[in-house]
């Protein structure tokens, strides 16, 4: 059973399109995150939700909108995709004792 699962694993799309990435965790964690890994492998937090409430919103364009329907799910919707959005997006969750578990990533390529 995958603890943090993301779909899709790969996403290739044209500039200007709107796309979504889904994330689900079955660990019972209260907090979920989206991280972006750029072409230089640098990882940076984008958003964090705790029990469906947005608690971290780093400097991210408004075209990115996270949604958490319940504490086990955190989806990322991206409007009007740009070339610079190409990256690997990781979902993660954390619970007590500060354990963070990452998903396997979604490689987004904008052409």
């Amino acid at each position: 059973d995958t603890a943090v699962s993301q779909t899709p694993k790969y996403l290739v799309t044209q500039m200007g399109n709107d796309k979504s990435i889904k994330c689900e965790q079955n660990l019972g964690h209260d907090t979920m995150y989206w991280y972006k890994q750029d072409s230089k492998k640098f990882l940076k937090i984008m958003f964090s939700y705790n029990n469906k409430e947005l608690i971290i919103n780093e400097t991210v364009p408004n075209r990115f909108s996270p949604k958490s329907p319940d504490k086990a799910h955190l989806n990322l919707h991206i409007n009007s995709l740009e070339l610079g959005d190409s990256a690997v997006y990781f979902c993660a969750s954390s619970g007590h004792h500060y354990g963070y578990t990452f998903g396997s990533g979604t490689r987004l390529t904008v052409v």
């Binding site: 990882l43 993660a92 354990g99």
Partner: protein
């Protein structure tokens, strides 16, 4: 604010040799410290973490790290590396936030470890 600096972007080493990957952090509050490994085209796997207690932390795959508060360092070591250890390694910190579980992770730039036969 917190930051993490991994002092070496690439570390080449021969098989069965020891290795140390260096990590320094900066934070105005107490932190938790982590090392993650990323194999090519894969996700992040936790190697080890320091939350409290003994400053020497043992992790998976024979790795260990030592928390040095005075030097604000958390260097990762392995006494004898294997070809399969070739990967990118990330040091990360999160602030101790009053017992909550939602401190964000701040990552270093990563160190590519290449093990040669």
């Amino acid at each position: 604010a917190q930051s993490v600096t991994q002092l070496d972007s690439q570390v080449p080493v021969f098989e069965e040799a020891p290795v140390e990957l260096r990590c320094n952090y900066s934070s105005s509050v107490s932190v938790y410290l982590f090392w993650y490994v990323q194999y090519p085209n894969q996700g992040l796997q936790l190697l080890l973490k320091y939350l409290s207690g003994s400053t020497l932390v043992k992790g998976i795959n024979g790795f260990e790290a030592e928390f040095n508060k005075s030097q604000t360092s958390f260097h990762l070591r392995k006494p004898s590396v294997h070809i399969s250890d070739t990967a990118e390694y990330f040091c990360a910190v999160s602030s101790v936030a009053g017992g909550t579980s939602y401190g964000k992770l701040t990552f270093g730039q990563g160190t590519i470890l290449t093990v040669h036969p």
